[in-house]
């Protein structure tokens, strides 16, 4: 069976506490999933947040409003090609 994998955005964090704090900030306003940090990404924390229905800029605005510092996270765009995963850092 061939699985067509959707592209999505991912936020990686410097540590687990940042990931949990971010979840608390976002979960009421953005449709997010907690997912394991992809093997292809090196981050301080094994927990990442996945989302697809919102623009990363909007998510960043929510972080700014909540005084969640920029150094605690990194946005990625995740795409798939030939069964491989390609994460791309996004700097807003």
């Amino acid at each position: 069976m061939i699985m067509i994998q959707k592209d999505y955005y991912l936020i990686a964090f410097e540590n687990t506490h940042s990931a949990m704090t971010a979840e608390g900030i976002l979960k009421k306003c953005v449709n997010i999933s907690m997912i394991p940090t992809l093997r292809e990404i090196s981050a301080g924390c094994g927990i990442s947040i996945r989302f697809e229905d919102e623009h990363p800029k909007k998510v960043e605005e929510i972080f700014v409003e909540a005084s969640f510092e920029k150094k605690r996270y990194q946005f990625y765009q995740i795409s798939h090609k030939n069964g491989q995963i390609f994460p791309k850092e996004i700097d807003l």
């Binding site: 687990t16 990931a19 949990m20 979840e23 997010i32 999933s33 907690m34 997912i35 394991p36 927990i47």
Partner: protein, 202 residues
């Protein structure tokens, strides 16, 4: 005339035990009356396992279930609710047992996030378990956690059976909000565990 067994007011798993007794005496048809939906669901599963046809009538306070052995000469097709086993999908011979709403011991928030990530990973994996069993506070995941419900829907589409302890849903008073899976009982859940080559308990 069918024998009538009164299991009104009897809590899970009594109605199932009473019906099992009748089946064990090779009775080809009987009627059992119960007063709750969990008992109805459990009896439907029993009928399916024991190759009985079952017809359910009644309302939310009083249900009458007519059991008729498959192949029995008195079997009538009118007004019957027929339950057929689903086409079997090849699955791996292991089950997941989720006895709480988090993974491991320690901080709850962390354990709950780990549970979300576990089901995400399971839904993305190439091999899937035969079934996933939810008990005690594990049942809350199937009711209250939208992310996990989404992953379980994907797993159910791949043929994974999701069994949720009815007694537990009842205890936490969330029975009416079950988002996915089948209300089940101790018999079915232990049967799945015994039959599996491997049980992963989280």
């Amino acid at each position: 005339m069918s024998k009538i067994i009164d299991a009104m007011g009897k809590a899970c798993p009594m109605p199932v035990i009473m019906a099992k007794k009748e089946i064990e005496t090779n009775r080809s048809d009987f009627i059992i009356t119960v007063d709750n939906e969990i008992a109805v669901e459990n009896l439907k599963k029993l009928a399916l396992n024991k190759q009985y046809h079952i017809a359910v009538s009644g309302n939310d306070m009083c249900f009458e279930l007519q059991f008729t052995a498959e192949g029995s000469s008195i079997f009538k097709t009118t007004e019957e609710v027929l339950i057929k086993p689903k086409a079997s999908t090849p699955k791996e011979d292991w089950v997941v047992f989720m006895g709480k709403d988090h993974i491991g011991e320690g901080d709850f928030e962390l354990g709950n996030s780990l549970a979300k990530m576990f089901f995400y990973t399971l839904a993305e994996a190439e091999t899937v378990p035969e079934s996933i069993l939810f008990m005690n506070s594990g049942v809350k995941l199937v009711v209250e956690d939208e992310q996990i419900v989404g992953h379980l829907k994907m797993l159910a589409d791949k043929g994974v059976e999701i069994l949720v302890c009815g007694t537990c849903l009842d205890y936490y008073k969330i029975k009416d909000n079950l988002k996915i899976g089948t209300i089940s009982n101790m018999y079915d859940i232990t049967e799945k565990m015994f039959a599996a080559a491997k049980v992963i308990t989280l």
